[in-house]
Symmetry: C2
Subunit: 145 residues, 2 copies
């Protein structure tokens, strides 16, 4: 049994971004990552490090949330690609990155953790950030269903 | 309905690594990534780009394979952290990276796609590569259950 709360863990002590939705197991936040407005995280509330620390039912629940976020991003933003990742090397508290990527973004086709490949496109980022305000509302509604 | 096979896709025309296991939906390969012997991929056979292109049952099946790989890596290699990712920006054919990360590896705690943080440790990598030969056999047996 792992501790439910780890005092020094930023995902135990903060939401980890702009709160979009939460239920009793999981929350969805919009990350605050310059250059990537459509960067979301699905954070498991309990402090566990690895996806396989969850029970099969918890994994289903977690991935259903990840997939719903992916579906809303695809439908409303038509990204070039969705990136999903659970890394946690720096913050070993289970969280899934769900990122809508665009062929014009600063790092594409590299990962968001790689070196940038071009300058950020301010106009497009501003437009995307506005769209994400709407996405946040859609996500909250869809995830509450 | 997407095409089952895309001619120019490297994951339609090759295994994408050293084949460890395959069934009718999915295969597990050991990636050939210098510095990361314990880098595996779960490749969905059909050419779909996104995880949410799968049906719910297919997603369960896919993630069950991912979790089994994760569990075997954790049990036999005791990594510092497992990294899971489905990116596909360069190769938009659904594949999950399942990577056992160690605090001594060249990129830790960065992602394997980020810049290296230290030199590769040849002795430890050689030892890990030997362990992975055993992991490959254990994976094949476990996934066949």
């Amino acid at each position: 049994m792992v501790d439910a709360i780890a005092n020094n863990c930023p995902l135990c002590t903060t939401d980890g971004g702009v709160l979009v939705f939460r239920n009793d197991q999981v929350r969805v936040v919009q990350a605050i990552e310059p250059g990537f407005p459509a960067f979301y995280r699905v954070v498991w509330h309990t402090h566990v490090a690895e996806f396989s620390d969850l029970t099969p039912g918890e994994r289903d629940s977690c991935m259903n949330t990840v997939v719903t976020v992916e579906q809303v991003l695809r439908e409303h933003l038509q990204p070039t690609k969705i990136n999903l990742a659970a890394l946690g090397n720096a913050v070993p508290h289970l969280h899934w990155h769900v990122i809508a990527r665009f062929d014009w973004d600063s790092h594409f086709p590299g990962s968001v953790w790689a070196a940038p490949q071009r300058d950020a496109q301010t106009h497009r980022l501003t437009e995307l950030a506005v769209q994400c305000n709407q996405v946040n509302r859609l996500l909250a509604a869809k995830l509450a269903e």
